[in-house]
Amino acid sequence: MATSQTVLDRLRLERAVWTMDTRLQDLPRRSRINKRRELRDNLRLAAADVGARQAVRQLGDLRILAADYLAAEYGERTRRPSWSAAALTILGVEAVMTLLVHTGRAAFHAGITATNPQATGTYHWTGIPYLISDETFTYVHGTHTSVGGAWTPLVYVIMLGGAVVTGRLWRLHAAWRRQRRQRTLGATEDAAGGGA
């Protein structure tokens, strides 16, 4: 029996779809989008038959469903990369560095203006060794502009290296090889099937 969908029903379906999506963060983006669209379409059809609440209930535990989708993509025992861990690492390094730069600059500025609130002249901050390059502050009557203070290449190495390590991104190589092998196998079999 087809049932009409209210706004609340649609919200219920979208909630299930996006809950699933957040649990599928470790899937490649395109695959995740495809699964999201397919799930939404299937849920709408099910909701038209049995109602939105029951349609979502029939999906079962969304954690199990997401785990099954991940296992379907990467295999049961295949070790897989974690995009979310990689992204968190990048954000974490960025947050720490931003805090360091801000704190360092603020402390330097406070030191200058503490001794002379109307400071005028050029002052040199050596930055933080290995992490933040030196910075030149030019003061005119206590207000300043600055040049420098950039992150060193080491910070980017830490950021990207950390993302690779925490996200276990080297596992992507095995996943790509597996996908390529399956595509080749499929194409060969289709060609053989078409020729038969």
Binding site: N34, R44, A46, D68, Y69, G193
Partner: protein
């Protein structure tokens, strides 16, 4: 009351059932679920069928194509590939062979009391 089925037993043959149904007619996810329910698997959940379809697609046993739909976005239809057809043939043979052994054992009438190991 509708009969319930052991999820573990069902999981073992779900791929085979999906390949068989898709071999008969290409279908989209929810349609496959409906067809399974019409066959008597009334307790099957969408949550077990959709990942199974995704797994078959990853393994190259089914291919998917998007078909535009009047009621919404394009719908994803699945059909078996040559590898899927081969897996279906092998799986069917394996299942029938196993069932030929298991079924008579399970349905036979126990004519004599079981013999314990100590008696032998």
């Amino acid at each position: 009351m509708a009969p319930t089925h052991d999820p573990q037993l069902l999981k073992g043959v779900l791929s085979l059932l999906l390949l068989r149904l898709l071999d008969e007619r290409e279908s989209y996810g929810y349609e496959v679920v409906q067809r399974l329910r019409e066959l008597g698997l009334t307790d099957i959940s969408e949550g077990s069928v959709y990942p199974a379809l995704a797994r078959l697609e990853r393994e190259g046993r089914v291919a998917a194509r998007l078909v535009s739909s009047r009621s919404g976005p394009a719908r994803k239809y699945y059909r078996p590939t040559a590898a899927g057809a081969q897996a279906l043939a092998e799986g069917t043979e394996s299942w029938l062979s196993l069932a030929a052994v298991v079924h008579p054992v399970l349905v036979r009438h126990p004519s004599a009391p079981p013999i314990s190991a100590e008696d032998t």
